[in-house]
């Protein structure tokens, strides 16, 4: 027995025991200690290791086009992205989809090769050239084995500077885009997002017009429009190049200089972006999708332009609302109520404005209940978040950065994004520092953006099923619309 316990036992024992002669001490018995369950207590994670992302090397071509390079010798592959700050904003009125069609056709024959020969050459060398377009920019990304960098840059330079833009390829690409659009319009989520953008920004606003085009718009776009868009969009002015992979500055710069160094700067185009309209207590917009088992939700709130001062706290608050499995919306609508497979709150940001959005697909029979619950959470988030939610959001934001840096395409994309939005080469490190520096109080003010009275709600679902219950639950202001 422990001597201290023995002393206590003697002290507390009846008086007659105090003088009692102690029996001889028994020989020690080997008693196995009670089994310790190693799983009894969950280990607490130690402090996080600080992470400072690498900063790219920077250079510029003779014509001023900036080049950022992130060498990574781990794998013998690379990704190189050429970007222009001019995208679907240049689409003429009534010809929505010009930029999307053009970026596709630029890859369908260039330089000395027609479409078939170009595709065959790209694939034979293990390369790929992919295009992307949004309201405020367009890009072409070349990826492949480093051994094919030289040949790949020849092909990419042909796409950017010498695309054929043949009428035959324009026709084929247009038909394919239209067919793809028809398919997408069968998806409630796609329809909801597209309809909400149009209603929120307005159908003629650059952010309200679908960058992927409309059926009517694409139908009017011809080879002449494609050539005009290409000439206006792809100039050295404002363009940038980002490279990641098993390349060095010494290796890649001369190759780029030879292909893009004499690319004419051209005259920049000032494309004004109108301010976002202010919404005040609008009806819930409903797109009828007969027999849908789920209702697509897309709710758009006033948001922030890229680089806005409150970007970091707004993002962290948005993650707390609907950015992870245990975020408020997922915890309620998925895990507690079982209404959905998942729900997401996020920021859509462009150069001159943005929105905060909630998107989900809800079991059709509980559409009205889910909308009520969603509104309850939106009202609550305006009071801000707590310290635990902030820490979680900061961890998620850091993890997003780490994940983006896992692949060369991710690194190149991160650099291209920073270049496009005029950020510094250490933008990623700065972003991480900003997230880490946010305190709970910083998040409260931006959460006022989740104000339902300024939001546009779009539901895409089976009208005959959802309308009666929506009205029953007090959503009497309904407006039935068709998608743009």
């Amino acid at each position: 027995m422990n001597p201290l316990l023995l002393a206590l036992a003697l002290l507390l024992a009846p008086a007659h025991a105090r003088s009692m002669k102690l029996p001889p001490k028994p020989p020690p018995v080997e008693v196995a200690p009670p089994p310790v369950d190693p799983l009894a207590t969950m280990p607490t994670p130690g402090p996080a290791v600080p992470f400072v992302p690498p900063v790219p090397e920077t250079a510029a071509l003779q014509n001023g086009v900036p080049v950022w390079i992130a060498p990574s010798p781990a794998l013998p592959i690379f990704t190189l992205i050429v970007s222009t700050p001019r995208g679907s904003q240049l689409d003429a009125k009534g010809k929505e989809g010009t930029a999307a069609l053009a970026i596709d056709v630029m890859r369908r024959g260039a330089g000395t090769r027609d479409g078939a020969a170009f595709a065959a050459e790209v694939e034979r060398r293990g390369l790929s050239i992919d295009g992307g377009v949004g309201p405020g920019g367009a890009s072409l990304a070349l990826s492949g084995p480093t051994s094919q960098l030289n040949a790949g840059l020849d092909l990419l330079a042909d796409c950017v500077l010498r695309p054929r833009l043949d009428g035959k390829e324009v026709k084929l690409a247009r038909e394919l885009l239209l067919a793809g659009l028809q398919q997408d319009l069968s998806e409630p989520s796609f329809v909801a997002a597209r309809t909400a953008a149009s209603l929120y920004w307005g159908p003629t606003h650059p952010y309200g017009r679908p960058a992927g085009g409309t059926e009517a718009g694409l139908g009017r776009v011809g080879a002449v429009d494609i050539r005009k868009w290409h000439a206006a969009a792809w100039k050295a002015t404002g363009a940038s190049i980002a490279v990641a992979g098993a390349v060095t500055r010494e290796q890649v710069l001369p190759l780029l200089e030879a292909r893009f160094g004499s690319w004419a700067r051209g005259k920049d185009i000032d494309i004004p972006v109108p301010a976002a309209p202010v919404h005040a207590t609008e009806p819930v917009y409903v797109v009828d999708a007969p027999d849908s088992a789920q209702t697509g939700f897309f709710v758009a709130f006033p948001g922030l332009a890229r680089g806005a001062a409150a970007e970091a706290p707004t993002r962290l608050g948005t993650i707390a609302l609907g950015g992870t499995f245990t975020s408020r919306l997922n915890a309620l609508l998925r895990e507690e109520k079982g209404y959905t497979y998942g729900v997401r709150a996020e920021m859509d940001q462009e150069r001159a404005g943005g929105t905060l959005v909630v998107r989900t697909r809800i079991r059709a029979d509980v559409t009205a209940e889910a909308l009520t619950e969603l509104n309850g959470q939106l009202d609550k988030i305006r009071a801000g978040i707590d310290a635990a939610e902030l820490a979680k959001a900061q961890g998620a934001a850091r993890q997003d950065v780490v994940e983006a840096l896992e692949s060369q395409a991710g690194v190149a994309g991160t650099l291209a994004d920073a270049l496009a939005f005029g950020r510094a080469p250490d933008a990623v490190a700065m972003e991480l520092a900003r997230y880490a520096g946010v305190v709970v109080e910083d998040v409260t003010a931006p959460m006022a953006l989740w104000d339902r009275t300024h939001a546009v709600y779009v539901l895409v679902g089976d009208r005959k099923l959802i309308e009666p219950k929506l009205r029953e639950q007090g959503f009497t202001e309904l407006s039935f619309v068709v998608p743009p």
Binding site: F51, L75, A119, G126, L172, S292, E406
Partner: protein
Amino acid sequence: MLALVLTAAAAEPSLPFVRYELPNGLQVILMEDHHLPQVVVDTWYRVGSKDEAPGRSGFAHLFEHLMFMGTDRLPGSGFDRVMEAHGGFNNAWTMEDATNYYDVGPPNLLETFLWMEADRMQALGQAMTQDKLDLQRDVVRNERRQSNEDRPYGMVEIELCTALFPDGHPYAHSVIGSHEDLQAASVDDVKGFFANWYVPNNASLVVAGDFNPDEAKRWVEAYFGGLPRRELPARLEPAPVLAAQKASVTLTDQVDAPQLNLFWHSPAKYQAGDAEMQLVADLLGSGENARLYRRLVDAGLAQEVDVFQYGLHHGGIFGVTVIPMEGVTLAQLDVIVLEELARLANAPPTAAEMEGLRNQHAIATFRDLEPLQNRAEALNRYWAYTGSPAWLGKDVARFADASAPSLSAVVAQWLPADKASRIVVNPQPPVAAEVKP
């Protein structure tokens, strides 16, 4: 880090790792990579929809959802909550042969990841309740609606199972299961499934990333070492199936264009012919230079063509999916697909085609192995299907070594026109619109 040995022809990747087995049968694979401050714990259970009891289709996947519903030690949403509180995240997926769980986060979470995986491997079953089951059943049924019922052409992958496989075959039902079977699942089913399959000797654990291997070994031993080995139930070992069960199936869906699907039985995963079939799929359908793309899409006959080889433990599925342009019939497309298959069966691909196929495949392999989680999963997958995590080299070699005639041979052997199962999706006829006053 993904190590490379450069050869004259191509870079040959390898994934350096250490593998050992605990006395209870748990396979442990450690792969260090200190490139980024990140760790992954990837746990692979050799149980999937093929192991479901009759009348319980969808159960393995439903169970995957239940693995996140808490234990007595870490109740409720603690698994996600703890992980996310420290910057980590997790997810899981279920397929016919396996269920895979992964945890990703900063290195300081590694010990917690291991504890949480061991905790639920040991104690998930005893904490199961009717409420948890009901809730996740709803989530899974929502997933079915979102991924299949409301997704254009989404019911094809469900119909495919009975079109190709006979009743009673482990692949004769879909991973997502039927609403009826999901509704029928009980708490006892959950507990039984857990006791049968979620045991260390049916799992392999990969720890990957920025960690100290000695520390990781100590934690693995401490948390998983005491979990008991249990005898596994007998698994169905079906006879090989070579012929489709249904020559044709017709579905209707809320789509604008019809869709033609042709499916055949094909070689099992990582078995002879599997790589060749994947190259055949690429030759026919991958990229704008692919043969069927040229014949169908470039020619303005189809808006989309997709070709795939999907290898599984007990056999594979080869599929061709085509959506026509307006005015083109599925019969026209059918003829062209079969013509191209016959052409390939009779004449091997050209040298230029083979060069492109090999290069594209090599690059795709590199790209796929860039994310740490993909590498962790690859080690587990190789272990589960081949018995060796060190199979990457062989995997790459089987594509590099595939000859042009071998592509023709597998087409001739596996894809004869009369062995195909056709699933046609027709657009639902329009209903008269309701006119409201």
